[in-house]
Symmetry: C2
Subunit: 336 residues, 2 copies
């Protein structure tokens, strides 16, 4: 197999480009079959290449003199900021010089750019954003959490198939359990969309559909793929983040309450930190935008080296397993 | 004002009827302007009336020889189990012998019974279930979390008004902030339903509409009333419950991990328990089903005396403030 080339947008995140370059250096050290194209400030990036001893033959800089910030209107920014680090990185995928792209920038712009610049793969009707969310003992793919709302039943069926292929190939889950998020466990429960989707999912022979999942069961590892419409997924994902932060803050506040609790905290802090860290998983890469002609991965705005390096590994696995080809084949043969 | 009569279904909960009778005894001791009608097993209830020294002139038993369990199909059960404790309690409201009804039974049956037996108040198009969810420093009314999904914009506008009236009268919040749950904060974000609802909410002069709320901000006390369609609300509510349980379990597990953490736990346990207890608030009553001809309050299946007593107080406040009349007036004068 030819070398894998991954484009990395080094601007747009909250932490500047140094963590990103450090993550790239780590991934290149770990995998000798990947090369990287970085978009961003040439001067700055050159200095970091030297600083982190990155092999010059495995990295190329594409200079960007614009950045899409979190304040930019996504679609507008993608159209107008042609020299932004994000647009340049996505262009590399579009032109086939890279097979995947990673960005920690404006989420809406990444979603819009994925669709408008990279474009949908053959047969794919919608391109869902599908982050892994931590559960008690593992994690589940929540598909779709993007901005493309009001999906149709046929879209949800495609999400189920794409999610299933992703979990099998990237996370190594055999015969992934696919559930649909619902307000009850019986097939007759749900809104019009869910009720119309359930029989279609039962008919799919290429997925392991386990039925409706009530959201209170999500933490209990009841499914590997959680199918939902983007509005619901987006709301769930952000609520998870908000509630997690709140609980963490409350626990931290309690530990600092008195001399007694501070003493207690000293004894448990290390273990408690480890416990909470699992829920901020940065070793799973980023959220893939699936069903595009290449792979686009959105990582957090505050990503550090570890998440960048994990995302590079995620892209590499995606390409080695030829996941896009599998997705296209599923839609050619399948009912969707 | 005449005495307030509240019907209480004493069957259908997980803990039997003793906690319920204990809660009733507490509430009757606290408020001398309420009377109670209890539906359930006459023999058992008579013994508990004696045990808890309940004044016989303030309580009446209506014997029920059937119970709607959590395994019953809601609508069917309401139709067929005419002698169930829930149907009998709802009948008391329908016939005007009680102004409110409390049940810890089958949620779906309570919702269905509220609509079919008690019936909607004049002008109300949908009757939302609106629990209070705890936030960092207070709580917000999440309206609608019921089972009546696929609402229309006009329904959401009514939810906003009912929620606002409820928070002002029951929780004493002046000029309650009403937000709509959305996937972004800008007015042009959202699904078709939310986008169509936002301009209608802006037009409402009788509510304090603060715009779109992203779910990650929900814990930060950004609104007193959180308007959403029932599918979204139901999924959020149950997810909150599931995630809360998971975090609590993880923290508990960590504290038991080693001798060192057990020592630490001994020092912080009391404060940590208090911190978590706030999120299992049982002093706020139950979830009201709004917009009916009377009030129906759903309390948790595992409710103990404190939640029962709080729910009785909640019903009392609702009736004293004549909330239903205010709701009907809002819909007569208003745009909805």
């Amino acid at each position: 197999m030819d070398k894998i080339t991954i484009a990395v947008d080094t601007m747009g995140g909250d932490n500047g480009c140094e963590y990103i370059m450090q993550g790239i250096s780590e991934a290149l050290g770990k995998f000798d079959d990947i090369n990287v194209l970085v978009t961003g400030n040439k001067e700055e990036l050159s200095l970091l290449i030297t600083k982190y001893n990155i092999d010059n033959s495995r990295i190329n800089i594409i200079h960007a003199d614009e950045v899409i910030t979190c304040h930019d209107a996504p679609v507008d920014a993608i159209r107008k900021k042609k020299n932004s680090s994000l647009v340049l990185a996505l262009n590399e995928v579009k032109e086939g010089r890279a097979q995947a792209c990673i960005s920690s920038g404006n989420s809406g712009a990444i979603l819009a750019g994925g669709q408008f610049i990279v474009g949908r793969a053959k047969g794919v009707k919608r391109t869902p954003l599908a982050p892994l969310i931590p559960t008690k003992t593992s994690s589940s793919l929540l598909i779709d959490c993007g901005a493309n709302v009001d999906a149709k039943p046929e879209n949800l069926v495609q999400f189920a198939k794409m999610g299933s292929i992703y979990m099998e190939n990237i996370e190594g889950v055999k015969n992934p359990r696919v559930g649909i998020i619902n307000i009850g466990t019986e097939d007759e429960k749900g809104n019009a969309l869910v009720k119309a989707t359930i029989p279609l999912l039962h008919e799919c022979k290429d997925i392991n559909f386990v039925g409706s999942i009530e959201s209170r069961e999500i933490p209990n590892d009841v499914a590997d793929v959680l199918v939902c419409e983007a509005f619901v997924g987006n709301v769930l994902l952000k609520f998870y983040e908000g509630v997690g932060k709140m609980f963490l803050g409350e626990v931290k506040g309690t530990l600092k309450k008195s001399i007694k609790t501070k003493l207690g905290a000293a004894l448990i802090y290390k273990d408690l930190k480890k416990c909470f860290k699992r829920f901020m998983a940065d070793d799973k890469g980023g959220a893939p935008l699936l069903g595009l002609k290449g792979l686009v991965v959105k990582i957090h705005g505050n990503s550090k080296n570890r998440e960048v390096s994990s995302a590079l590994e995620q892209c590499r696995t995606f390409i080695i397993h030829d996941v896009n080809k599998k997705i296209i084949q599923a839609f050619e043969n399948g009912e969707a």
